[in-house]
Structures are given as C-alpha cells and as structure tokens.
C-alpha cells in the first residue's frame, strides 16, 4: 500500500477488520494533511474542539464557484455532491448548516420526545423476543440477518409510522442508500444510478404516506412532522424521513453486531452482562467508544483554521475520525482495552456539537434490550469466524455477517 495516504488505506476494504493500527499512525499528527489536500483530525482534544467550531461546515453542497477542486479522487469523492439534482432539493439536516439545520433538527427533536423514546422500550423488547424465538432449534445463526438488521428497521418504521407490511421494502432501500455515505462505494457510476432509482422510489412512497398522515393523523413521528403548523415543505419532510430511516438503522445494526462480537471476544464481559444486566448502560457507553458504529464524518473548512500548530486552509475537506479519537491514549488511559468500568468515558461515538446524534437515546435503548436479551437467552454461543466478513463501508463500519454457533435458546 505504499504510495497511498493513510486515509486511503482506511478506505481500503482490506483494512476494515482492524483499522485501529492505522488510526494510531494517524494520531501521530493530530491534524494530518493527506496528499490530496484532505485534513484528517484523529485526536480527541482537537476533534472535541473542531466539532463545535463554527468555521467548519457540514453543508455537502458547497458553492462550486468558491470551491477549488483539487481533482484528486479522494477529495473529489468526499465533497462532490452525489445525485446533485436530487440532493439540491432533498437535503437532510445533517448535510446542512444553521439556520436551516437548526430549524429542521428542532422540528425533529420536538417529535423525538423522551416519553416517546422511552415508550419504544417495550416494543423493542417484544421484537427482540420474537426474533430470538425464531432461533429455537437452530445450531447456527447469522446475527446480522437474523437479528441485528430486522430489529432496528422494525423499530424505526414503527416510530415513523410506516405500515408493517411495507417494512421489507424499506430494508432494501435503506441498505442501498447508506452506500451514498461511503466514498469508496458511492463513486461507482452504476451505484449512483441505483441510488437515484432507489431515492425516487422511496420519495414517491413517502409522498403517498405523508398525504395519508395529513388526512388521518396517527400517533407517529411522520404524522407529527406532516401536521406541524409551520412545518417542513415536502422535500424537507421526505429528506428527513429518509435520514431517520437510514441513520436510525444502519448504525444500530452495527452497534448491536459490534457489541455481540466484542462480548464474544471478551467472554468475561459476556458472563458479567448475563449475571448483572444492570451494568448494560455502562457497557454500551464503552462499546460506543471502543467499537463505534460511525467511524468518521466529513466536513469543509470555511476559512483558515489554526489548530494544533498547523492551519487547515479555507475550502479544505476535513475528516473527523471519531473512532480514532475514541482511542486516543492522551484522553483515555489504556484505550485499546475494552473496560466498561471506565470512570470517565466522554467518547465521541455519537459525534458532538451541532450534529450530535438525534437518535442517541433510542440507540442506547435498542442496544441495551438487544444485548441483554441475547446474552441471557442464547446458550453456548460462540463465534465461528473471527474476524467476521465486514461491509465495505469505512464510515458506517460493521460486520456484514456474524455467524454464530448455538447450543440452544432459553425461554423468555
């Protein structure tokens, strides 16, 4: 791999199973300029600072007049708007800056009430019980296909108000659309075309659903958003729904799968979670530090920004390598050790600043219910391959399959 930058090596699927040595390399320079002019921020202090720096933009449609393209493949992929025509109209708030960002996010936050999120615990438990029940009599399962995938998609569909019979369709759409977030996947023209078709399908579907919610308001987030007095226009509404669907689903799949993988690698923690389920919240915080579902996010520098002795120049793409900061030895003692008892665990697993994950409380509930139930009910569970095969994505990183051997399944 000589000749390619460290960040390009991270994008290379060959390094997906264990990117952490590369992250350690990158941390040697808190802000590392790549050959193509991209700046990778990988240390905790610098990231924590830049993540709420208003000179950093999340807008993924920078003004092409102002932006100086370097023409290098990596830079180009990071900042070139995908499906430009569609994205201009349908931009979810994670790719926008204030004031639009604040307005749209604020409307979503008002729907994501603590009561509503807490109310999802019982539903999550019921889905979990049902999925684990289906493993009865099997000696082999794929945790991803049999469990981690269906759980969050059902939860988010329920919250959004997608009828259960349409869930299967959403599953396919969400998987396809998530590739747009991965520079090493979305560049492919065939894939871009697929994304476009997929987006048009989902937009048409949601348009119909929104119309129904306006006629017949239900107790769900889409109904609330569609009926708000000074609400979003339909483009924003669709973009928001798609965002919640993709983000609320690809990430949680990985959190649950990474969680089970980590527990199987450290059986003493699996046993402890089984014996003391009340320790789950701390264990999940440590998981979010140690194996976060989102490894990096991309940004743009609006002006020259001095940080850690160098200056990120105006218009430079900036990579926030959250997963590397989470293992920064300056911030976390013995960072490569999985230790749920860490007293001070201010990880960046959910990002930070303006764009801190809206779904964090929901993700915590889903992971807690899922992992506690899995370790309690799966008997004699073991990994059949380690490392497991990973999805190609470097940003939303997680196993594509997690094949497990089982001795049995305990009752609820």
């Amino acid at each position: 791999m000589s000749g390619s930058t460290l960040f390009e090596q991270i994008l290379d699927p060959a390094n997906r199973a264990n990117p952490y040595p590369l992250y350690a390399e990158l941390r040697k320079a808190p802000v590392a300029r790549q050959a193509d002019g991209t700046y990778v921020v990988s240390t905790h202090a610098e990231l924590a600072r830049l993540i709420s720096d208003p000179r950093i933009s999340s807008d993924d449609l920078p003004d092409p007049q102002k932006f100086r393209w370097t023409g290098h493949p990596v830079t180009d992929l990071l900042v070139r708007p995908v499906r430009a025509e569609i994205r201009k109209r349908h931009r979810p708030f994670i790719f926008r800056d204030p004031p639009d960002h604040d307005r749209l996010r604020g409307q979503v936050m008002r729907c994501f009430t603590p009561e509503r999120v807490r109310g999802m615990r019982a539903k999550t438990q019921a889905i979990t019980d049902d999925l684990i029940g289906k493993m009865q009599g099997k000696s082999r399962i794929d945790l991803v296909d049999d469990f981690s995938y269906p759980l969050p998609v059902t939860v988010i569909c329920e919250l959004l108000g997608v009828p259960p019979e349409d869930e299967a369709q959403f599953h396919g759409w969400a998987t396809q659309l998530a590739t747009a977030l991965e520079p090493n996947q979305r560049g492919d023209e065939e894939n871009q075309a697929k994304n476009e078709v997929c987006f048009n399908e989902i937009a048409d579907y949601l348009q119909g659903l929104i119309k129904e919610k306006r006629k017949d308001r239900q107790e769900d987030i889409l109904s609330d958003l569609a009926n708000e007095k000074e609400g979003m226009n339909d483009f924003d509404l669709i973009a928001t729904a798609v965002l919640l669907l993709v983000a609320g689903h690809e990430t949680t799949v990985n959190l649950i799968t990474n969680g089970m993988l980590t527990l199987l690698r450290f059986p003493e923690h699996l046993e402890r979670l089984r014996a003391e389920p009340e320790t789950a919240p701390r264990l999940i915080e440590e998981l979010l530090r140690y194996e976060p579902p989102v490894h990096y996010r991309t940004r743009l520098a609006l002006t020259d920004i001095p940080v850690a002795g160098i200056t990120i120049p105006k218009d430079a793409p900036v990579i926030f390598l959250l997963a590397a900061a989470n293992r920064d030895p300056i911030r976390f003692p013995d960072p490569d050790r999985f230790d749920p008892d860490r007293p001070d665990n201010r990880h960046l697993g959910f990002g930070g600043g303006l764009h801190y994950c809206v779904g964090a409380p929901l993700a915590r509930i889903e992971a807690e219910v899922a992992l506690v139930s899995l370790v309690r009910r799966l008997k004699g569970v073991s990994l059949t391959e380690d490392p497991p095969p990973y999805r190609p994505g470097a940003s939303l990183r997680g196993p594509r399959h997690l094949r497990l051997a089982l001795e049995g399944v305990a009752g609820e």
């Binding site: 600072r49 208003p54 800056d97």
Partner: protein, 420 residues
Amino acid sequence: MTTRPERIVIVGASLAGHAAAHALRERGYAGSLTLVGAERHRPYDRPPLSKQVLRGLYSADTTLPCHPDLNAEFRLGRPATRLDLTGRAVECEDGSRLPYDRLLIATGTRARPWPNPEEAGLAGVFTLRDRDDAERLGAHLRTKPQRVVLVGGGFIGFEVASTCRDLDIPVTLLVRDAVPLAAALGPRLGGLIGEVARERGVDLRLESEIERMEGQAGRLAAVTLKDGARIETDCLVAAIGTLRNVEWLDGSGLEADAGGLRCDAFCRALLHDGRVAEGVFAAGDVARWPNPYDDDALVAVEHWGNARAQAETAAANMLAGDASAMRRHDHLPDFWSQQFGLTIKLVGLTEGADALAVVHGSLEERRLVAAFGKAGRTVAAAAIDSARWLPAYKAAIRERAPFPPIEDAVDQPRIRVQEP
C-alpha cells in the same frame, strides 16, 4: 500542613459542599467527613426550584444523588455559628464543637430579604432561594393568585415570571433599572428578553420601584409604586438578589465581608493580612477568588457550574499536601437559564465589556450567539437558542482571543461591533 488529614469538616451542605464530599472520597480520602448544613434538608438541586417545582411538575424534593458509600455525617438544621481558627474547630448552634484538620467553607448565599420587615412579614410576600421557599411559593401559585408582582430584574425574577405565564397567572414585573438583565447580559440582550417577556403577557415596568405595600388582616392586598400607580395583588415575590453567608466568620480573622470570603487561586481562605489560613478552603457562591481571565480580579460566581468545579478543585487541594501539588481554580464561569421558551446560556463574565458582536443568527430571529469584548479581547459569549456553538467561544475566551474572535463562520451575519 503536609500531614494527611484525618478529620475534614465541610460547612455548607448544598451543591458545593456535596460535590466536595464526593470528590474527597473519589480521591481516596478515608478519614472522617462531616457536613454542617443550616437547612434541615440533605443537599438538593436548586435550578428546578424556579421552574419545574413552581409549575408543580416536580416536587420540591430535588435531593442530589448521594453515593451510598459516601460515609459522611450530615449535621443538618444546626448552622455553624463561629470559627475558631487557632483551636481548629467549628462551633454550631446546638453548642457542639467540631475539630478539623481541613475545613471547607461553602456556606453560599441566602435571599436578600425585603428591606421593610413589616411588609416582608405580610402573608403573600415571598422570596425564592431554597427548597422551603419554593414549596411555599409553589403551593401559593396553585391557589391561582389574582396577580403576581415580581420585584427584581435578574434571572430569578424572569424565570418566575415565565413560570407564572405558563400557569396563566397575570404577572407584573418591576425592574429598578432602565433595562432588565443588564448586569449579566448587557442592555442589548437584556432588552431582547424584556421584549419577549412582554409578548408573553408580562406587564413589565422598567425604572419602577415599590413605595409601599398595603396589608389587610396580615395579608398583602396591594402595592403602590413610586410613580403613584397602585396594583392590587395577593402575591409578591422579592427577587432582589442575595446576601453571602459570612456573618458566622466575624471575629475569626478571615477576610470576609458582603463581597464574600477572600481566597487565593488555590481556593485557600485568606486572613485579614493576606496570609493563607492554614487548612481552610472555600468554594461556591461564598468564595471570592482571583479570576485568571480578568487579570486576577476578585470575583464571586453564583453559578451551578462554578460551585461544582470549585468544590472539586478545593477537594483536590485539601488532599494535596503542600502548595506545589495544588492546582489553580481556573473555571470559566458559565450559566444557563430557561424562560419564555428560550434557552439562554452565557460563558465568561460580561462585567466591564465594552463591545458586542452578534456572531451567529440575529437579534431579529431571537436565535443568536453574541460575543462580548473588553479592551480588544473576547471575555464572554451569550447564546439564545444556539448553545451548541458555545464551546468554540469558550475556547476563545480562555485564550483571551482578539475581539471579535471567530470570523467567516457558518450562519454568520456581517459582523458589526456595537455597544453591549
């Protein structure tokens, strides 16, 4: 002084005292630990008192979570009455005498009482500082008073006004100055909050003071203002500031007055002659300390965040042994308030600021971040419904960055420097 302490006494059982007790145990202190509290309650949280508790959403019991292994003796409802520095002991109202190796003074403040005792004694006249106050006032608000008259143009007055409007109770808010909240936010932002309050139905009267109260059978019936206006009311809340609880230190030799108990940068209490009082530390609202972000000017900060941070620093320094192992209290003051549907957050201190720039959003949208400058340096920043930008400004204030600190940023209007 370098011997390890075996007996630590904390005078003041509120947020700072409580945080210090926890920090001492976290740091491995295993000796005896005694907390002396004037109130009969275990340490509790104050911010909800003027909001959720008054609205009836929370009960007045906002007791702070206490670690089961804290192993501290709480002596509540028996305030300290005297400090014997030479004998290294605290004397309490019940006659007990508590010897210490290290002492933390965290006695905080109390509500400034209404200056006319006869008027203050009328039923229906309240102050709001502690749990019992909130319980009494909350119960009264639930009887739907005809009107609440609030006296004071600070945050407590505004928060209570906001709560009353939420409860659909008519409110008159009397502010002595020409602009509300000016001490903390400056006239421009204070004026903005005043406008919002008016829109929410608050009868806001500026440059307005009470001439006298009228009672009827011991109950408040009406107030007359200095401009002659008469308002019928059965409920008045005096939110006219606080007094520091330093009287018990009279004659102790410590440098304490209405401005607070004077400390050095390491939270150590100072004597009248400026020397350090061996083994005596202070934290929270009562402590007056040199602020490194303002050329070590002495400041007493009455904020939740400072109480906690200063308690933690004091606890670390109580166990540090000698001064070379002590750390400086360099907390950057921060503060937040929720009222009239707005979240207001402030970092730094605006006192003496000579310039203001709206650096995100706008006054018109009522969603903004404003930076405050003093002699060309950035000293504070206030956010209204935009608190997530503040960490960047906090860093700029720490670095005493040139003013205005951050340019060419997201959602930034053309920066115009104006008077605060």
